[in-house]
């Protein structure tokens, strides 16, 4: 039994991480490319609601969504000024639904399982291994950055110059840590190309992938046939 299988035990939708990522990708692509018709957007809204209800990380969805929606609004400003508010609202609605599905769908995948799932979907090992490495170290770096920033603020330092010093210090520390890690890994015979696990699909993935495929198809069929 793989780590991914162990994590799916006892869940209502007992699918592997690779299947969760694939299902979320299918739905996001379907909604993002859906025709801008009321019926398609209605079915897309229903699909989004199903995904949000299925995820257990709704607090995380609520935490991440506002910034993403703000970014969509900023991107669509030129469209709103050029073509009017209604078209921009329709495009923004579709983009917002895509974003909600992405955030809620990928929230069901533990960070540690993301890179193996990407490998399973054909992402080159160089890229997925960098994703794995970055995910492991990002939290550590963010904590270190906050600590350094707080220490400098307590000493009364602020401004662009100090931000640059902070960036330089953080970068130097990160790079040194990377060098040590890489050397230690090399001495132990570590090869990222072979060490990074590739997640596998299982028979238990069929229901999730089937539902995702049906919802994706429904969005597009509604867009073609409906008003």
């Amino acid at each position: 039994m793989t780590g991914s299988d162990a994590l799916t035990e006892g869940r209502p939708f007992a699918a592997t991480s690779a299947a969760r990522v694939l299902a979320a990708l299918v739905l996001v692509i379907a909604v993002a490319t859906a025709p801008l018709s009321p019926s398609a957007l209605l079915v897309a809204s229903a699909a989004t609601a199903i995904v949000v209800l299925a995820t257990r990380s709704r607090a995380r969805v609520a935490q991440v969504l506002p910034a993403g929606l703000g970014m969509i609004a900023a991107t669509l400003l030129p469209t709103a000024l050029h073509r009017g508010l209604l078209p921009a609202t329709l495009v923004g609605g579709r983009a917002g639904l895509s974003l909600t599905i992405a955030v809620a769908g990928f929230a069901t995948v533990p960070a540690a399982e993301l890179a193996p799932a990407l490998r399973a979907l054909g992402v080159p090992v160089t890229v997925s291994a960098v994703v794995a490495s970055a995910l492991v170290q990002a939290k550590l770096l963010a904590t270190e950055g906050r600590r350094l920033s707080l220490a400098r603020q307590l000493r009364g330092r602020h401004g662009y110059g100090d931000a640059a010093t902070l960036l330089g210090t953080l970068f130097t520390r990160a790079a040194r840590r990377a060098q040590r890690t890489a050397l230690a890994a090399e001495l132990r015979g570590y090869d990222p190309a072979t060490a990074l696990l590739r997640a596998r699909f299982a028979r238990s993935d069929a229901p999730l992938l089937g539902v995702a495929g049906l919802l994706a198809g429904a969005v597009h069929v509604a867009g073609r046939l409906g008003p």
């Binding site: 969509i72 579709r94 974003l99 080159p124 130097t172 990160a174």
Partner: protein, 255 residues
């Protein structure tokens, strides 16, 4: 600025630009693989650094702040190929974990936020140099050029693929990103000065053989041609009839 899913109304433009972005990433992967067996751990840490650095916002205008992209720092530290991979990993994590940037437009984001800024910095670095004052000038000019190039490509994509007005998209996006690029460039120049003083060995110096990559240039041109070809071939199919949005707006009473 990260493009989100669903903002484009022309799928052909998305497909074409995504292909170009994917092709550029493929070239970067091949370069990085061939050069150094330890590339992954180091590049991963740099990607994590960029993720963390993007959390540090600096004021640009009253009520507005901006974060660094990190392309300049990473390019001058590990070279263009690894920089593209690190920034792509950042974009993947942001799209899949943080809800920042789209999945169907990942290739476009790679093009605008990883490939073009990285190539701009590399171009300026090759002209000006990589040490002392030249390094800092490269940081400022390279970041500015990279931001302007990325924002221009983004604006062009929005005009062609999302029906945005060129008169609004270009000044708005290029203006904001030029200002952000200037602030980031100055910050990066100061940070590189710190880095050069503390750990000069961490800065990238290109090997002579890396300057001559005719096969890769041919591949880059081929991928660009494929992307443009796909977009051109599909455009008539998508524009033969009014799209659903146009039909919806043109016939409100029919519903």
């Amino acid at each position: 600025m990260h493009l989100a899913d669903g903002v484009f109304t022309e799928p052909a433009v998305v497909a074409g630009l995504d292909l170009v972005g994917a092709g550029a990433l493929g070239i970067a992967v091949r370069h990085a693989d061939a050069r150094d067996g330890r590339v992954t751990a180091f590049t991963g840490t740099l990607a994590a650094f960029v993720l963390a650095a993007q959390a540090i916002n600096v004021p640009v205008l009253p009520g507005t702040s901006a974060h660094v992209i990190g392309a300049t720092l990473v390019t001058l530290a590990v070279g263009p190929a690894r920089a593209v991979i690190a920034l792509t990993a950042v974009l993947i994590i942001q799209a899949l974990v943080l809800g920042d940037g789209g999945i169907t437009v990942l290739g476009i984001n790679v093009l605008d936020l990883a490939v073009l800024p990285t190539l701009s910095v590399e171009l300026v670095a090759r002209v000006l140099g990589r040490s002392g004052l030249a390094l800092r000038t490269t940081a400022v000019l390279g970041t500015l050029l990279g931001n302007v190039a990325g924002a221009s490509a983004l604006a062009a994509a929005l005009v062609v693929g999302a029906g945005a007005s060129a008169r609004i998209a270009f000044p708005w996006l290029v203006g904001v990103h030029a200002l952000t690029g200037l602030v980031e460039g100055i910050l990066t120049a100061l940070a590189l000065g710190e880095l050069e003083r503390r750990a000069p060995d961490l800065l990238y110096s290109p090997s002579p053989e890396s300057r001559d990559r005719p096969r890769s240039y041919r591949a880059a041109i081929a991928w660009t041609a494929v992307g443009i070809g796909v977009a051109t071939a599909l455009l008539p199919l998508t524009s033969a009839k009014p799209d659903a949005l146009e039909r919806f707006l043109a016939e409100p009473r029919a519903r």
